[in-house]
Amino acid sequence: VATTLLDEEFLRKLEQLSLLARKIRSGVSRGENISIHRGASLEFSDYRLYQPGDDFRYLDWNIYSRLNRLFVKVFTAEENLTVHILVDTSRSMAFGNPTKLWYAGRLAAALGYLAVNNLDRVGVSAFADGIEHSLQPVRQTSHVFSIFDYIASLKPSGVTDFNRTLRDYSLRTKRPGLAILITDLLDPGGYTEGLRALLYRRFDIMLIQVMDEDELSPRFKGPFRLIDGETEDETELNVEPETVAEYQRRLGAFFGEIEEFCLSHDIEYLRTSNRIPFEDVVFSYLRRGVFVH
């Protein structure tokens, strides 16, 4: 991951994405998409005529004295967004070519870069059966290099315990914000409890599920002893075309359950494969208005 994450091409793509993000932000109407997470400082934006019910504290008495008309000052709330990027580093993320972890790392780096450019607080955490170690949220442009270094140092290890990890994270986090989860969600223990825990702490959640192409369409056939990459459990199976079809049917049902849960809990969900260029994924998120506030 470290050797290829920060190559020249990647950085050029990040720059393009950044420009694209600004362009999108400028096209959005003022006053829309105001974050519910308001910061302490207010920045003057405009005047408008007083409307019954407006806060008298924002009446501009100087203008009233000169024009004898009541105007209220309009301020834009300065977003004080904290972006929590959580990257699954369990052993299952080591699969694929490129590995799912490598792909997740690029996504995390790109999203982190955009968030830093947006002057958000950005923290990055790696998790498997718990939070391994974290890069605490910092609002600083130079923080992007720390993010890159952190992501480049990630190594796959451990067994996924999604629910426990997110429950712990939601409890220990003082400043909830936007949680970007990059994982394959392949946890027999499920994922709903963890996501609910984050939602309870009023996190906005972006869930990015990264799958390997061979997980979507297995290409091996014949008698196999399948070994779980995380638990090393085994199961014997003759992988025939109908077996693969059955697997894909079950995988589709699994994806359907995730989509349904996310839709019902207002969670941004995106499923991608390590064969899809990461910038397409990021762009897709930008189109949805993420980081525009």
Binding site: L186, K221, P223, F224, R225, L226, G229, E230, E236, L237
Partner: protein, 620 residues
């Protein structure tokens, strides 16, 4: 389909072993996946469908096929396509020689041959025309080409093994003579104790169906039987000759005893004269050897002589005995019709065993064996053996014309017994009769187109004639004259040479010197009488299928003759059909063993092995 090595089929046991190995020890490759929890339920569900999965296992299928093919190849299958199946015309040639009297597990080979022939008939197309013929001592057609299966089965039922040696050469010539062409399938049903004759054009579609111990079904290539009757080797009298001493007082006997076993044997050889034992000797005969012994038997001791291996329990009984008999001593009755011929009269008077009657005109009231007409007119309707010198029979083959003087050289036909040793080309002939000769006559000497000496056979007439009188040539003065007359009498063969003792081989034709028109009764060795009224002498008797002494009786005569096997080839029961080699015989042998297909099976097994490897490699 038969198997030369049925033990090879034991390899088929590997098939269930392979299936079990695939069932319980299916080789599974390790495949690491990010998580198996989606696979696990599928695996549980799938494990309940083991058998269908096995069926879909291409490697298992290929390995089972390969093992089956390898097993079959190891068993060395021989495709016994019934040689004659599918042919339009089939000739079934059944070996009914003496060796077919042997048996396998108590079943006579002749019975097996009959069954085999029935199988061939049964498998032949319904419209196939089948001919049955025997290939024994006297090859003959048992039933000519027919589609009537019932008739063929009936003929087969009556077919028995003879006491004689096979005569395959004559049998094959008979088949050729019957119009069997290259399209005709010829199947020789035999026990294999024979070898193909050399220098015989074999039918293109000749094949053999060997029965008994050496049949392809029973033959074990690693332990080929030494003889067709396994475990019971044969010992035989292969020769039994009697020769009169010069003074005529006794016979010198020569007998040969052969041992075809792989171990030395002790045999007792007994010589009898008119069933009286005159000699009994115990002989030690080495394996594969022949012992020859001699003895002397007084001539007065009898007229039927026999040699027998006493107490010889072996595979073939018919060659344990041999017979010889003295023929009757009846003289040749010659009627010489002449106006006077010193040379003829002198010759015939000193010729042994001749009873000469000289007359001036033909006396048909007196029986004769040979009638010699010396420049005298011949009466009409003459029958029997006639020698016409310078005269023509009124109803004979020669129509006389003018008389001419010979001014050309004489051309003599080569290789005829009558002119053997006779220098006719040096004879001076003054006058001869020019005329027309029946084309059926055989010219032995001629001057240009004109015949000088010829023979002719009609229904009841055997004629030797010259177109020149003896008195118009110098032939009577030459040394060739007695030779010529001797040859003529021998060729006409009116009686057996006096004093000879011997036998003929089974199936041979025996000339019986009996008066024409007189009933003759021939009693076979088994006591069966046969009655004939021959029109010519000698009467050729051919039903000599049994060994032993045949009694010949008539109103004015009595005689006997002996028939023996005494044939080393027939007594040798080694399966020579399998061991001979070379030439056309090799083709026959290939057919005999059927078409071996193990090479193709082995090749197919290899291909399946390669396919198995390819499938395995692609999956890995």
């Amino acid at each position: 389909l038969s198997f030369a090595n049925p033990l090879g089929l034991l390899l088929l046991l590997s098939v269930p072993a392979i299936v079990l190995l695939h069932l319980f020890r299916q080789e599974r490759r390790r495949q690491e996946v990010s998580s198996i929890y989606l696979w696990r339920e599928i695996s549980d569900q799938h494990s309940r469908r083991v058998r269908p999965r096995l069926l879909r296992n291409l490697n298992l299928l290929l390995q089972v096929i390969m093992a089956t093919l390898a097993s079959l190849a190891l068993a060395q299958p021989v495709l016994q396509t019934d040689p004659a199946a599918g042919a339009e015309e089939i000739v079934i040639l059944i070996d009914d020689s003496a060796s077919m009297q042997t048996d396998s597990d108590g079943v006579p080979h002749m019975d097996l041959a009959r069954n085999r022939a029935r199988e061939i008939i049964g498998r032949a197309p319904r419209n196939a025309r089948i001919l049955l013929a025997s290939a024994g001592p006297r090859p003959s057609v048992i039933e000519t080409f027919t589609v009537d299966r019932t008739l063929l089965y009936e003929r087969l039922r009556t077919l028995e093994a003879t006491d004689g040696a096979n005569n395959l050469r004559a049998a094959l010539n008979l088949v050729r003579g019957l119009g069997a062409d290259d399209e005709t399938d010829v199947v020789l049903v035999t026990d294999g104790a024979l070898s193909m004759p050399r220098n015989v054009a074999l039918p293109r579609n000749l094949s053999t169906a060997v029965v008994g111990e050496t049949s392809p079904a029973r033959r074990d290539s690693s332990d080929a039987p030494a003889d067709i009757a396994v475990g019971r080797a044969n010992r035989a009298i292969t020769s039994f000759e009697l020769r009169s001493r010069p003074d005529g007082s006794a016979f010198e006997v020569l007998a040969a005893v052969a041992n075809y076993a792989s171990e030395a044997a002790e045999v007792v050889l007994e010589l009898t004269a008119d069933e009286e034992v005159i000699s009994s000797r115990t002989l030690e005969v080495a394996a594969g050897e022949e012992r020859i012994i001699t003895a002397t038997i007084p001539r007065t001791r009898g007229t039927v002589y026999a040699a027998e291996l006493v107490g010889n329990e072996d595979a073939l009984a018919v060659d344990d005995r041999a017979f010889a008999a003295a023929s009757g001593d009846r003289p040749v009755r010659v009627q010489l019709v002449t106006a006077g011929n010193l040379f003829l009269e002198s010759f015939l008077s000193v010729y042994p065993n001749v009873q000469l009657t000289t007359v001036e005109s033909v006396d048909q009231t007196t029986a004769f064996d040979v009638l010699i007409l010396d420049e005298v007119p011949a009466p009409a309707r003459l029958r029997g053996n006639v020698v016409a010198l310078g005269t023509a029979l009124p109803d004979g083959p020669f129509t006389p014309g003018r008389t001419a003087e010979l001014d050309r050289t004489i051309t003599v036909r080569d290789a005829h017994p009558i002119v053997d040793g006779v220098r006719l080309d040096q004879v001076q002939v003054g006058e001869y009769i020019v005329g027309d000769l029946n084309p059926r006559a055989s010219v032995l000497a001629s001057a240009g187109e004109d015949p000088l000496l010829y023979t002719y056979r009609a229904n009841d007439l055997t004629l030797v004639a010259t177109t020149f009188p003896l008195t118009r040539s110098d032939i009577a003065l030459r040394g060739s004259f007695p030779v010529l007359m001797h040859n003529i009498l021998e060729w006409l063969a009116p009686v057996a040479p006096s004093g000879e003792v011997g036998y003929v081989e089974v199936g041979s034709v025996v000339p019986l010197y009996v008066p024409p028109g007189e009933e003759v009764v021939i009693v076979q060795p088994d006591g069966t009488p046969r009655r004939y009224t021959p029109r010519t002498s000698p009467f050729e008797f051919s039903r000599t299928e049994q060994i032993g002494v045949y009694q010949v009786r008539g109103e004015s005569f009595a005689g006997r003759f002996a028939v023996s096997l005494a044939n080393a080839q027939e007594s040798n029961l080694s399966p020579r059909l399998q061991t001979a080699a070379g030439g056309a015989e090799a083709t026959l042998l290939e057919e005999t063993a059927g078409t071996p297909i193990w090479q193709w099976l082995a090749l197919a097994a290899l291909l399946f092995l390669a396919a198995d490897w390819v499938v395995w490699a692609r999956r890995h």
